[in-house]
């Protein structure tokens, strides 16, 4: 009898043991991710305003339909598309160029590799304040240099014009984020077998052909992963915009996450803000799906 019980218990224990090891991590996951996400869903279905906590009626998909008829949402959504494409695209291009340079042999390469990481290491608020002062109408170094070079006759209010503000903020974030690509791609470049490049050179491939036919295909996996990760981060980032412009002038630099943030923390409309955040999440899920599939393939 005892033997039979033991023979049953041991497999059950073995079966449960992995879950017991996972339990602490799962509990934390439930507490800090699943619960807030479920609460966001709940809020998005209610007219939840922070200063009316006892009067939050269920309105179904009302917050979502409101978003689709809200012109500010569409402005923010369009700005988000420009923001993501330009920031990620330019960061990648600059990061790739930097990585190719840093992969060359020169005597101060070690120092250059260390220096290039500085923008990435700076806190976003510092980056935003620094660029705000560089763009300053009266004191900014950008206006000063451009006028000394004779490129402009009068200073430009970079952060106060509809035609320059979004581009100015994008440039600041490109500067901050390109080291991520540079470091990732540089790490990838060092895995490209030298023999392959030598063989291509012997076969008569020029530098551009070696880059496009050998180097880039060899690090395609690294590039794809970096692009996916950066797209998710850039899509959600609002700190630099918030500090530099607060979304202004007007709605010129509103993006969806910033709009959700302002609706929550200025308007106190947590229900509507939750719906905006979920719409953004749904769009990002496509990117996340691609990332997860890629990550699973690498396992």
């Amino acid at each position: 009898m005892t033997d039979t019980m033991q023979s049953v218990t041991i497999p059950v224990r073995r079966h449960l043991l992995p879950f017991a090891f996972l339990a602490p991590a799962l509990a934390i996951e439930l507490g800090i991710i699943v619960y807030p996400v479920l609460q966001t869903f709940w809020m998005s279905l209610h007219d939840f305003v922070l200063f009316r906590p006892n009067n939050a009626p269920f309105i179904g998909l009302g917050n979502f339909t409101r978003a689709f008829t809200d012109p500010v949402f569409w402005t923010a959504a369009w700005n988000s598309v420009i923001w993501i494409v330009c920031v990620v695209g330019l960061q990648f291009a600059l990061g790739l160029a930097t990585a190719l340079l840093l992969n060359q042999s020169f005597w101060w390469r070690g120092l250059a590799r260390a220096l290039v990481v500085i923008p990435w290491a700076l806190p976003s608020v510092i980056t935003a304040l620094m660029w705000s002062w560089m763009y300053d109408y009266d004191l900014g170094v950008i206006n000063d240099v451009l006028s000394r070079l004779g490129l402009i006759e009068a200073p430009i209010a970079w952060l106060a014009r509809a035609d320059t503000t979004l581009g100015a903020v994008i440039l600041a974030l490109v500067w901050q984020g390109f080291p991520f690509f540079a470091v990732m791609i540089l790490a990838g470049l060092q895995t490209v077998p030298v023999e392959l490049l030598e063989a291509a050179e012997i076969d008569g491939a020029n530098a551009f052909q070696r880059l496009t036919k050998v180097t880039l295909p060899s690090i395609a996996e690294v590039i794809a992963t970096a692009l996916l990760l950066r797209t998710i981060w850039v899509a959600n980032s609002l700190d630099v915009i918030l500090v530099m412009t607060g979304g202004g002038p007007g709605y010129t630099t509103y993006t969806v996450p910033l709009y959700a943030f302002l609706k929550a923390y200025s308007g106190m409309e947590f229900g509507y803000a939750a719906a905006l955040a979920l719409i953004m999440t749904a769009l990002l899920l496509l990117v996340i799906y691609a990332y997860v599939r890629r990550a699973a393939r690498e396992l």
């Binding site: 922070l50 200063f51 109408y137 009266d138 106060a160 202004g248 200025s266 308007g267």
Partner: protein
């Protein structure tokens, strides 16, 4: 003193103090939230003075980041919803309606009526701080009134005097806009509604239904937006200029007029000395005028278990010399009449400009929508109007819609 007498006296004192404050026999802790423009300033000395005089009360003073108001109030509302509100906190009128809607405020009528110090605060200030339902939830703490700073030397050189009307203001701004100087440092960014108010609310607009789209209101707003778009008497960066930019421009001599309050006077005097002059904001065509009464009060929360102790603390802060000590930390003006007489932290001409402005000083509407108007509705619409993306009339329609549907 004989040992027996000493013991009798000690016993009697202990008994008397217990009887005198039966509700506070044990030490009570009062949690108080505050914010100062300079977060380095601490009320520790005031707390020590109060605790020495009130050994049965301990003050837990917590500095809460202001963050343009959003940070402070988001934390306050979240704390109230979570049942973790402090006993009392600094509050502004622009959020009184929201706090009332949350039923978070304790009426102070009876405690104020029984408080001797109430007589030292002027009736004007009590009236401005009274809630829409007739109750007194706020105990005034300090205040500012917005007025016009101007460069006396530039005005003298141009043969101008401080503008008393909108027309004189425009004339002066035009005359002084030259050689890299703009006549007026318009604040189109965060907080700029308090620059807009004197011209638009002072020009005939109001927050009642239809009050933003009356002919007088639309005309006043066209005038104000026109300072930038038509007359170009403001810096090109005005659409997003906030406090730091407008004061930096003024101190550096890039603008000739600026609207702000006494809180910036010491800093501006350091840069400009006697060139700095002040006067009430100009008045509209009907002569009425309007400027912002920038209030700060203390309120006690309904959830507090130490309301009496909290009132003793907040009334201590609104009593003459304590009120003066507090305003040295906040950079604002004492609400007490006796305190105002003792205040030496600001130069007289700026205190005079403040008190001269009191007859036209008003507050933002007592509405839950006011805070969002200040933080997003006004700046987004004003900036669009300044950029020509919408007309000044569209801007007023948007404000009307925000408040009155």
């Amino acid at each position: 003193m004989e040992r027996r007498t000493f013991l009798k006296l000690t016993g009697a004192t202990a008994l008397a103090s217990t009887l005198a404050r039966p509700a506070l026999a044990a030490q009570t802790t009062v949690r108080w939230w505050y914010h100062f423009d300079n977060p380095q300033n601490t009320p520790a000395e005031l707390v020590a003075k109060f605790e020495a005089a009130n050994p049965d009360i301990k003050i837990a003073a917590e500095s809460i980041p202001w963050g343009g108001g959003n940070d402070y109030y988001t934390r306050l509302f979240a704390a109230i919803v979570a049942g973790q509100a402090p006993d009392c906190a600094q509050v502004k009128l622009s959020n009184q309606a929201r706090l009332m809607e949350m039923q978070a405020l304790e009426p102070l009528d009876q405690m104020v009526a029984a408080w001797e110090g109430r007589k030292d605060i002027s009736d004007n200030i009590w009236t401005l701080n009274k809630a829409g339902d007739g109750h007194q939830y706020y105990l005034p703490l300090h205040y500012v009134v917005l007025y016009l700073y101007y460069r006396g030397d530039l005005f003298d050189a141009a043969g101008l005097k401080a503008p008393a009307t909108f027309d004189e203001f425009l004339k002066a701004a035009k005359a002084l806009t030259k050689d890299g100087v703009s006549g007026f440092g318009m604040r189109g960014g965060a907080g700029g509604y308090d620059n807009w108010g004197p011209f638009v609310l002072g020009g005939g607009a109001n927050f009642q239904k239809g009050g933003m789209i009356s002919e007088a209101a639309l005309k006043a707003n066209r005038f104000y937006v026109g300072l930038a778009t038509e007359h170009k008497v403001v810096p090109p960066s005005a659409p997003t200029d906030g406090f730091k930019q407008i004061t930096a421009n003024f101190k550096a001599g890039r603008t000739a007029m600026l609207i702000h309050h006494v809180g910036s006077s010491n800093d501006l005097v350091t840069a400009l000395g006697d060139k700095l002059q002040a006067a009430p904001v100009p008045r509209g065509p009907d002569g009425k005028g309007w400027t912002l009464y920038g209030d700060e009060s203390n309120a006690i929360f309904a959830s507090s278990k130490a309301k009496e102790a909290a009132f003793r603390w907040i009334s201590f802060l609104s009593t003459a010399e304590n009120n003066v000590a507090l305003t040295k930390l906040s950079g604002q003006l004492p609400v007490t009449t006796a305190g105002a007489a003792q205040d030496t932290s600001h130069q007289a001409r700026f205190v005079k400009a403040s008190t001269d402005s009191l007859p036209i000083a008003g507050v933002m509407p007592d509405s839950p929508k006011t805070a969002d108007f200040v933080a997003t509705v006004w700046p987004t619409n004003m900036q669009q109007a300044l950029l020509g993306q919408i007309s000044p009339d569209d801007m007023m329609q948007a404000i009307e819609k925000h408040f009155n549907g």
